[in-house]
């Protein structure tokens, strides 16, 4: 199982229409966004997302002169109930891992809540957590 989920990060200036343009390019290439996160400052933002066709998304945005990076994150399944996230984070805390950032989404089709982790070291994180957390694979983002 390939537990490393492909994530695309895009630099966007805090200017009208830039975010929209990214989504437009994805639509034109028939790419479906499964999860998304925007970290922003006064001047610029880092847009991160997981899609069904990461390679195509990367190429399409690059072609339009966006500054794009591919990176890998972990996607963990959690119970969609009070305390679901807390239980998960407790496990991560105990493993003493550095998290760069997280974002979440709830899959409407299977009612699962998914949390996406960017760890400083993805392999170390996976090894320490794989027996305690249910990680999803890339396939999950393509089919569902």
């Amino acid at each position: 199982m390939n537990y490393k989920i492909a994530q695309i990060s895009v630099f966007i200036e805090n200017k009208k229409g830039r975010f929209y343009n990214v989504t437009k390019i994805l639509k034109e290439n028939n790419i479906n966004i499964r999860a998304l996160n925007l970290a922003d400052t006064n001047d610029f933002g880092i847009l991160r997302f997981c899609v069904d066709k990461p390679e195509e998304a990367y190429e399409a945005l690059k072609k339009e002169h966006f500054i794009v990076k591919k990176n890998e994150i972990l996607a963990a399944l959690m119970d969609d109930r009070p305390g679901g996230l807390m239980d998960l984070l407790e496990i991560v805390n105990e493993a003493d891992l550095n998290i760069e950032y997280v974002y979440t989404f709830v899959n409407a089709k299977d009612s699962h809540a998914v949390i996406l982790f960017k760890f400083e070291n993805i392999d170390e994180a996976y090894e320490k957590l794989k027996n305690k957390i249910h990680f999803l694979d890339q396939q999950y983002f393509i089919q569902n």
């Binding site: 200036e13 830039r18 001047d43 610029f44 880092i46 002169h65 966006f66 990076k69 950032y101």
Partner: protein
């Protein structure tokens, strides 16, 4: 008037003195500075070929590039151990332009700064608040020692910390303010914000320099502070402040022609312009010992008026510079060249060369923002690393330029390009207007 015996010379007397001193300077530079010997040899001119002031046109020009090539002391006529002081100004790249002074040079400089101040009506009974930075910059120490020589009471406040500046102005009651015109406006606005009435401000005279400013700025300064605002001019390469200064008639800056020979040339052809026309100011020092400078291209665009002034002086009056013939910017009184910015960016791997600097005025102060087009090398998925990269760029700029710039990352291809050529500088300050 500080030195009427010189300041009141008529044209004939001025030119006679100038020729004598020019001949001496050319000979001195030829014999003691290899760069000048090579320059003169290259056009087959010997010092004795200078028989009239007009003959100066036979001599090659000197530019900042000469200082760069001969960094640090190559332009000096004396060994650095024989000097009394070193100052520096910005070079076109990371290295500064180093200038030096003998004891006698410092003495002359103080005389000229004393003249500059006296020209504007400052006298020994005045209390002077100096808000120029003290350090390698010639402004702080230059004004300081000149004003001491004049006999004024000097308060060496230095630059920055506006709150403290205001407190000292209100408590110590100086009558003269020395600063850049933009900083003076900032002080004025801060005083107003504190609710301080103009009648309660002791200042009467403002000696403003180190950056170009317009007649409009003068009007604004004289409205917002109870001062008469006087301009003065100078540059480190030829000495520092004290090359020329306005008299009470505020109608051009009198060049202290017994120490400097000035020409105005067309910056393209380098030929002299017609009398009274605008062109680039070229200065030859006539009395400097440590660093004689022959035909230095200041890159400042101005014009000269050699008619007698109502103050009694015949010494030529240069108008406020109306622009530059190169791409140098003056930001908060500090000279900055686009090439320095390029060098700073070059020092950080991956940054590239797509940048633009935008200059604005915010509360009368210069605000400089550097826009850098982002690329894969300097874009990070983690905010922490992205910020670190921004800090790194800022730090490198600060190290090379000596001033802080705002740095903003922008998307590729988003900076203006005019006819394929990148437009590096956008100046919205309107300083020359």
């Amino acid at each position: 008037m500080f030195q009427p015996e010189f300041e009141l010379l008529n044209r004939e007397q001025i030119e006679e003195l100038q020729l004598e001193r020019l001949q001496k300077t050319v000979r001195y530079a030829y014999e003691n500075v290899r760069a000048y010997k090579e320059k003169l040899d290259s056009v087959k001119i010997k010092p004795q070929d200078i028989k009239s002031l007009d003959d100066i046109k036979k001599l090659p020009f000197t530019t900042k590039e000469d200082f760069r090539q001969n960094y640090p002391y190559g332009m000096f006529a004396l060994n650095v151990k024989q000097l009394a002081r070193i100052h520096a100004s910005s070079g076109t790249t990371g290295k500064s332009t180093i200038v030096g002074y003998t004891k006698k040079d410092l003495d002359t400089w103080s005389d000229l700064v004393a003249r500059l101040a006296a020209c504007a009506g400052v006298g020994s009974e005045d209390i002077v608040h100096i808000a120029f930075g003290y350090g390698l910059f010639t402004g702080g120490f230059g004004l300081h020692y000149g004003l001491e020589k004049l006999g004024a009471t000097v308060i060496p406040v230095s630059s920055g910390n506006t709150k403290r500046q205001i407190q000292l102005i209100m408590d110590l009651k100086p009558t003269v303010l020395v600063s850049t015109p933009s900083y003076a406006l900032h002080i004025a606005e801060s005083l107003k914000k504190e609710g301080i009435n103009q009648n309660d401000i002791s200042l009467k005279i403002g000696l403003f320099g180190a950056e170009p400013w317009s007649e409009q700025a003068r009007k604004k300064l004289q409205e917002s502070l109870p001062v008469k605002a006087y301009d003065n001019y100078g540059l480190s390469e030829v000495m520092g402040p004290g090359v020329s200064a306005e008299c009470i008639y505020q109608n051009g800056m009198h060049v202290f022609e017994d120490h400097f020979y000035t020409e105005i040339v067309d910056p393209e052809t380098l030929l002299p312009v017609k009398d009274g026309e605008y062109g680039e100011l070229v200065i030859t020092t006539l009395t400097k010992e440590a660093l004689p400078v022959i035909r230095y291209r200041t890159k400042d665009i101005t014009k000269l008026d050699k008619s007698k002034c109502a103050c009694g002086r015949y010494m030529a009056r240069m108008s406020k510079p109306i622009g530059r013939s190169d791409d140098m910017m003056i930001i908060r009184g500090v000279n900055v060249f686009p090439t320095q910015i390029e060098e700073a960016l070059f020092n950080i791997e991956g940054v590239g060369n797509a940048y633009q600097i935008v200059l604005e005025r915010e509360e009368a102060l210069d605000k400089a923002t550097l826009f850098v087009e982002v690329n894969e090398n300097i874009f990070f998925d983690e905010m922490k690393q992205q910020r670190l990269m921004l800090e790194k760029i800022k730090h490198e700029l600060k190290t090379i330029l000596g001033i802080e710039l705002e740095v903003k990352l922008v998307e590729p291809y988003s900076l203006e390009r005019s006819v394929g050529k990148a437009q590096r500088v956008i100046d919205k300050r309107g300083i020359y207007k």
